[in-house]
Structures are given as structure tokens and as C-alpha cells.
Subunit: 289 residues, 2 copies
């Protein structure tokens, strides 16, 4: 008896999509051997080799859920990855988290110096918008405006950058309560995940109801992502401000389970096309890395 | 005998346009009294009060040279100003120029701390793209793509950010020659000036020849701007690497004069509509601040 070949294999799916994202990023930010300074090299250092490419894969899967070829969302997907990479470079700087290592390698500024590290982050954030504009030629002016706005709102002061500042302010004040923690995470990490899902849907031609459903999905898995991240970190550092520290482990797990259920419910009308999105949501709940 | 009222008054023109830019920027980045953290306040700190708003005024005047109402270029003009403000905030950081004062006030990071200063710069650079998308509704998808690309190419690693890294590398190496200095300045300050002029022309509906002429104008006045800046600084710091230090004062002045002549020549077919652009070029040659 052979296994049913129609069973969706998330592991293979994620690996294949991450490879496609890597190849596209290589095309969007190629090495520049004639460059006078190390800027392109420094930018590429924090893009390659990549991790799971979670945000771009979400954008691609969201486009797919609309019954649209996922490749159509590749440019905007890579734009979100570049924003993510930029945020890691600046987060690691001495005036922020002052980290010497990331993914087992020296951080950008440890290799290239603080000045070039700062500028490499700046370059990545700006280049995200240039890459977003490599989206398919047949997209309307209105869709292009939406994509740029989503990218800016998710990454700028109304989203990620603003969340980081609220986080810093709360840390300086010394107390963070449950509602504040939710607000910080919704902006700091949730906005980019939500935005990636929304942009995949927009490229895929989502109507208002479809966009609302995929937005809900994006918000819920952003929450799940953060809670499970906090749970994994909690085992190493129980003192850090986190979901398990503020709500307890059991309550945190229950919140994550409920969020996944809501995410799956939002996907129902999309049927089989949303299989990757639903498998991703379920996977997030049980991930161990 | 009264003076001819048709004489173009550059001083009034510059003051009026700068006021219009200030008002538009106020609308694009309003104060947010309900903000949880100081991010919007920190961003606004480095946008208001502004200086001469040189780059946005150029974009508006370039649109005007096309016979198009200057207001149509207001959003993209303000986007260039936000990029300029972002670059000043990051330039002042301790890991860059480590400046405590700018325009007679403490620098952003001296007021808000290095972490918030860094993030305020990030926020300004990202918001530039959101503001660019507030350009008139009737612009085509192709024009929107061009505007975003121009903004990204002028400000990112192919332009300003890349020029800063080449500058750092040259400073570390300890020697800069004439051709290198030109290359550094063309990228570091020239790209943004050139891009602002080009974007005003693009919004104004420039054809290929008109765009090429206004691009040449933008490149030449970018050079004039830098040379006269260097001449002004040279009187205070004759040791710094600069046009007068490398080429001598007389040769630098001759280069600036020739660049203005070329800029004016490029404007000829635009007639009276280009009066602000030509007055600006001539003014740059004789400015004392």
C-alpha cells in the first residue's frame, strides 16, 4: 500500500518555496564585483544565506490561495524579506540590542563596522521598495499604490518601526502589562506578517471580503508566531517579558490554539487553494525552532 | 517710474515654495498626540522647522518647467525632502559623524537617544515612499513605477547610501583624488538633487528629450551645489578633502561657472516656464550660505 500522493507535504513545500525566494532575491540584489565600496556585499551578507523566508513564503501562499500563480507575488514577497533583513541589521547595532552573533555568524556591523552596518540596513529598507516595483507589468496603478502603502505601513512608524519604539519606551518605564505586550507585538512583528499576507492577496486580485478574511488569517498567525516564539524563549529565559511570563504557559498555549482555529476558519471559503496557508498555521503551533 | 513687475523674484519664489512644502509635509506627517511612543515626535523633530527645502523646490520647479502646475509634484517633492531628513539623522549618529548639533539645535539622537534616533531615521526613509504614493490619482502605473524607482535609485545603494559608503572607504584608505571626489559627490549628494529634478519632470509628462535635458540640468546644479558648498567650507577648514583643496579655488570656481552655463543651455527649449530653474542655477553660483 502506497501513501496517498495527494497528501500535502508542508516540509517539501516550504523548502521549495524558500529556494524560489532565494533565487529571486539573488536576481533582485546581485553581487556587484565592480562596486567601489562594500555596500552591496554588506547588504547581501544579511540576506544570504537566508532562514525559512517565512514572510515571503506567506505572501506567495496567500496569492496561491486566491487561485493565482504564486510567482506573481514574488517581487512583493521579496520586498517583505528585505524589510525583515533590514530590521535585523539595525536591531543588532550597539545602540539597539548590541548583538555580536546572528544565525551562528558575526552580525553585520561586527564584519563591516557600525557605519557600514547602519548604511547596509538603510540600503536594504530602500531597496525593498524598488523590488516591490518589479511586480508584474499588468498590475494597475491602484494595485501598485496599495502594495507600496501596505509595505510602508507595515514596516514604518505605523507598524514595525513604531512597535520597536513603543517596546523601548515600555522597557525604559520598566513595566509591561498584557494589553501593552499584545500592542507591541502586533506592531513590531505582527504588522510585517499581516502585510505580507495582504499583499499576496492583493496581487492575487482579492475582493474586499477575501482580503478581510486573509487579513484576519495574517493577524492570527502573527499572534501564534509570537506566542510560540515566546514559549520557546521562555524555557531559556523565564524572566523576560513574554506571553508565558505574563499569562502563564497553559494560558499562552490556549491563546495560540484559539488563534490557529480562527485562522483556519477564515480560510474556509478558499478551499484546497488555501491548503499551504492552513498547513502553515497548524505547523506554527507545534514548531520547536 | 515703477519697476517692471514681470521681473522674476527668486527670493520671494523660494520663500513661497518652501512654505508650501512645509504645509504639505505637515499634512503628510501630522503630529500624533495619541502615539504610545515618541516615534512621530522624533521624526517630526528632524523635519520641522525646515531649511531651504532645496530638493523639493527643485522638483516643483522642474514640474513647472514642463508647463504643469507645480502642485502636481508636491507629494514626490516631499518624499525627496523626507529622504534628505532621514540622511541627516543617520549622518549625525555617533557611529557616523557623531554630531551634537544641527541647525543650532541638538541632533535627533541627543534629544531622543541613539536607539530612537536610529528608528526615527528608518521611519522617515520608509515614509518617503508612502508619501510618494500620494501623487495625483490620474498618474499611470508606469509613471508610479518610475517615481518609486527614481526615489529608490537616488537614495539607496546605487545613489546616496552607496556614495556614503564609498566616502567612508576612501576616508579609511586616506587618499582621495579628483575623479574619486567627483564620483563620491555625484552619488552622495548629486543623486538626490538629480532625482528630484527628474521626478518633477516625470510628473510633468516629460518626453525622452525633455527628461534628458532636465537630467543634465539636475546633474550640473548638483555639481555646482557641491563645489560652492566646498568653497564655503574651505574658508573655515582648508585641510578637508574638497574641490578647492584638490583643484584650487580658481579652478573650482571655473568648474562651477561652466556647470551653470551647461545647466542654462539645457533649459533653453523650455522658455519662460523654466525661469525658476535658471534663476536657481545662477543663484547657486553666488550663494554665501
Amino acid at each position: 500500500m502506497s501513501q496517498a500522493t495527494t497528501t500535502f507535504n508542508l516540509k517539501d513545500y516550504l523548502r521549495q518555496r524558500a529556494q524560489e525566494v532565494d533565487a529571486a532575491l539573488e536576481g533582485f540584489l546581485p553581487a556587484d564585483p565592480n562596486s567601489l565600496g562594500p555596500i552591496v556585499e554588506a547588504m547581501r551578507y544579511s540576506v544570504f544565506p537566508g532562514g525559512k523566508r517565512f514572510r515571503p513564503v506567506l505572501a506567495l501562499a496567500s496569492c496561491e490561495a486566491m487561485g493565482c500563480p504564486h510567482q506573481r507575488a514574488m517581487a512583493i514577497a521579496c520586498a517583505f524579506e528585505l524589510i525583515h533583513c533590514f530590521s535585523l541589521v539595525h536591531d543588532d547595532l550597539p545602540c539597539m540590542d548590541n548583538d555580536d552573533e546572528r544565525r551562528g555568524r558575526p552580525t553585520n556591523h561586527k564584519v563591516y563596522g557600525e557605519d557600514v552596518g547602519l548604511l547596509a540596513g538603510d540600503g536594504l529598507s530602500i531597496w525593498a521598495f524598488q523590488v516591490a516595483m518589479q511586480s508584474p507589468d499588468d498590475l494597475s496603478a491602484s494595485v501598485l499604490r496599495q502594495l507600496i502603502s501596505e509595505l510602508a505601513l507595515a514596516s514604518g512608524h505605523p507598524g514595525m518601526v513604531g512597535g520597536q519604539v513603543i517596546d523601548l519606551a515600555a522597557q525604559h518605564a520598566g513595566t509591561i502589562d498584557g494589553p501593552q505586550l499584545k500592542k507591541i507585538h502586533a506592531a513590531k512583528t505582527g504588522a510585517l506578517i499581516r502585510g505580507a499576507v495582504r499583499c499576496g492577496a492583493i496581487v492575487g486580485g482579492a475582493n474586499a471580503e477575501q482580503l478581510a478574511r486573509l487579513t484576519l488569517y495574517g493577524e492570527r498567525i502573527g499572534l501564534v508566531f509570537q506566542i510560540t516564539d515566546d514559549i520557546l524563549d521562555h524555557l531559556e529565559d523565564p524572566e523576560a517579558v513574554s506571553y508565558p511570563a505574563l499569562f502563564g504557559l497553559d494560558e499562552s498555549r490556549a491563546m495560540a490554539s484559539q488563534a490557529v482555529e480562527e485562522a483556519l476558519l477564515a480560510l474556509q471559503p478558499f478551499g484546497a487553494a488555501a491548503e499551504p496557508l492552513s498547513a502553515l498555521a497548524t505547523y506554527l503551533l507545534t514548531r520547536t525552532t
